[in-house]
Symmetry: C2
Subunit: 482 residues, 2 copies
Amino acid sequence: MMTAPTRENIDALKAIVGEKGLLEPNGSDLAVYETCVRYGAGKAAFVVRPASSTETSKVLAYCVGQDISLVPQSGNSGLVGASTPDTSGHQGVLSFDRLTGTAENDKIIFDEENRSVTVGAGVRLSDLNAFLAPKGYVFPIDLGADPRIGGMIATNTGGARFLRYGDVRQNTLGVKVVLADEAGTELDFMSGLRKDNTGIDWKHLFIGTTGVLGVVTEAILNVERLPQQSAAALLVPRDEAAVLKLLLEMEQRCDTNLTAFEGMSSDAMAAAFDHVPSLRNPFPGGELPGYVLLVELSRTWAKRESEQSLDELLETVLAEIWEDEEAPLENAFIGRPEEMWSLRHTLSEGVKHAGKLVAFDVSFRRGDLMRFRAFMAQELPKKFPDVRICDFGHVGDGGLHFNLAIAKDDTRLDDESFIPELRAWVVECVVDKYHGSFSAEHAIGRSNQGFYDLYTPEKVKELAAGLKALTSAGELGAVKLG
Amino acid sequence: MMTAPTRENIDALKAIVGEKGLLEPNGSDLAVYETCVRYGAGKAAFVVRPASSTETSKVLAYCVGQDISLVPQSGNSGLVGASTPDTSGHQGVLSFDRLTGTAENDKIIFDEENRSVTVGAGVRLSDLNAFLAPKGYVFPIDLGADPRIGGMIATNTGGARFLRYGDVRQNTLGVKVVLADEAGTELDFMSGLRKDNTGIDWKHLFIGTTGVLGVVTEAILNVERLPQQSAAALLVPRDEAAVLKLLLEMEQRCDTNLTAFEGMSSDAMAAAFDHVPSLRNPFPGGELPGYVLLVELSRTWAKRESEQSLDELLETVLAEIWEDEEAPLENAFIGRPEEMWSLRHTLSEGVKHAGKLVAFDVSFRRGDLMRFRAFMAQELPKKFPDVRICDFGHVGDGGLHFNLAIAKDDTRLDDESFIPELRAWVVECVVDKYHGSFSAEHAIGRSNQGFYDLYTPEKVKELAAGLKALTSAGELGAVKLG
């Protein structure tokens, strides 16, 4: 439907964004924009890099008028192929690289009284936090990757401290959006208010929808005080059923001092230790328990003389839990938070080296997460033998990075239908049997478009198509929600 | 456009919902459904009270087919006329009175592991909390009124502990919605998941839009542990500029133990003491400071021997703040939380008796709240002399109940244009001068439709009209967003 951009189109775009703003097709510098971290590469007709919301508006208006399909791309650190072009060579990439300013032309505007910042969509999470740290604040979405803000909004990332701080949606106070319509309409929902109920709260349509309905160019974000104390422990639950009991106990006994409750399987930890041999193994004799929880407490104030330290609080809490004869706890190791997090954060990289990786980003009602794991431990070997489960996840919010590793010399990998069948079966169990989500925090991209199509009710797709038609006249985004 | 319901229509609706489910027009039992708490009465063609989502679907499908306009009504405790019919006598009221069950037919379903409940839209907040309290949990939206859940979702109420728990939106994990289309389509977004990014998060369209886009019949809500300790103080800031400094200090020094930071003007307190003479005046000699902050700390665990009590923590924190030579604090009174909250909660009732009340529910970026108050203290007397400002509000989230009291014998009240002019001027200052919201937590109803029309950009209204056309074929709700 969409046409291949012509020389004339590219020159016209260059006239809007300037020389620096446009990367020509077939240039070697395009590869990085064409390649998804996890799912291969497409081919870009060009990369257009507007430097402001106004330029973005002109680019979208022009492309809509010329029938050119655009894929918005932020940090391109996403894992589901939501920000890369298809293989046709007809799609242009709309990069956020240069969207690092705001309408007021400052890079980041800090409003301490409101505990908020105004940022361009192209600002990197690490740059935002480097700006905030000296002021004593943080944008509290804790991730392994270093995305740009626009992409974090477009995928509604959650991360490892969701339990305390929520997701990007919860921390987004406002957005500026450009629509893919004839005018490249700019919509300003940048009030930055915390309480505002004057009709439809439009920003929610542009959060988590990977740029399909419009391009977020600026945002106002909630920020939080940087913690000044923390403590962490690795807990070994008595059995799988004990995990949720532990979570509820910790929540009651620590309240919002509890800032993480993460689960790690022995196979995921083993993969991390294999991959980074210098990583310290904190377990006696190096023997990995079947399942381990990383719990973290933190506070925004420095320890006062009159108070217990958080280490002491953690000891007290664990002792209280242990008092119960049917304590859900088998063992506990209090240690340095950095060390425990470095184990946790090495898991993603580790599992990539455990074999051919088949990764799922799924979620459940919190109680169902462990039940799903137990089901899989039993049923997967029957259905797909010799597949290792190396999962880890966010038990506190029901999110699970369910990773499967297959030996690289496994001959089943020669069969093109093997992995698709495995993926389809796992997702079917997640969605149909455990009423979970097939995309917890990575949103919808090319790699899970098929699951969206399969599991989204027809009426909902019809509404999505209607909404797309309402907001857009042109093609925007890597996926179709309608 | 809409037609007056006929005898035949009423009988047909009765056939759907049964005798108990339909209240005939002109019955004396209709008055309560026709009258808004604050803004007078309309006239209902009938009141239809479906007892389930399925019945609601049939009612909507029938009314759409017959061109009958419906106004959804939950607890009818809202303050902006969003749930009562107009005076034509053509609109029916769709009451949530009997929507107290769930599809599974239990009144309230508790999932402790997920920290969530499934409830019908007709369940009252007090009933939900009476159900949860013995289990140690609470739905943490703290309000003076006792609405039903559906209305809380439809207005996205915030309340006095927003600072810690957020608004209804933040605590809504899922909704079931019935659309006003030919089929009375039921949409099930009841996953109850905390992390789920599989396309558009539709529930947000039905939160805060007072039933205009569809009727929420059931919901899954996040619940929190009931606090087991609390402490409170009344703080007298050194001056108005000190208020935000105090907020930031308290946030850093107490973290999320800080569960409320409320502001009370002397005139609002005076009105409360006048109205309820038994209310204890905690200030020396009974002399009211110009502005007072109610701060509350709370925790979900019972005090441990090894720990300071929250009263002690509060004392420590206030002493730390006081150490600074330029301390933003002039005076502080630590006292019983119940006593302080009873003062705070008497303000709404008190100001109603302070004269003819002209009430605004507005919000600002947090820092602008006090600047707006200062501006009003200076400019209001010039523009509208002899109008008393009896405001109170949620300083921690920027929400302000800006109340004006006019002596009941003021002859200006005989002039019909006086109050509209006063309201228009105040809202203009809120929106244009201080970039605030004219509806912080009461949403849009008949009483502020005019402000919606005036301050909503044309393009946004156009999108709203499109969205309305996409979801509905019939007339639903008391207001128009398009």
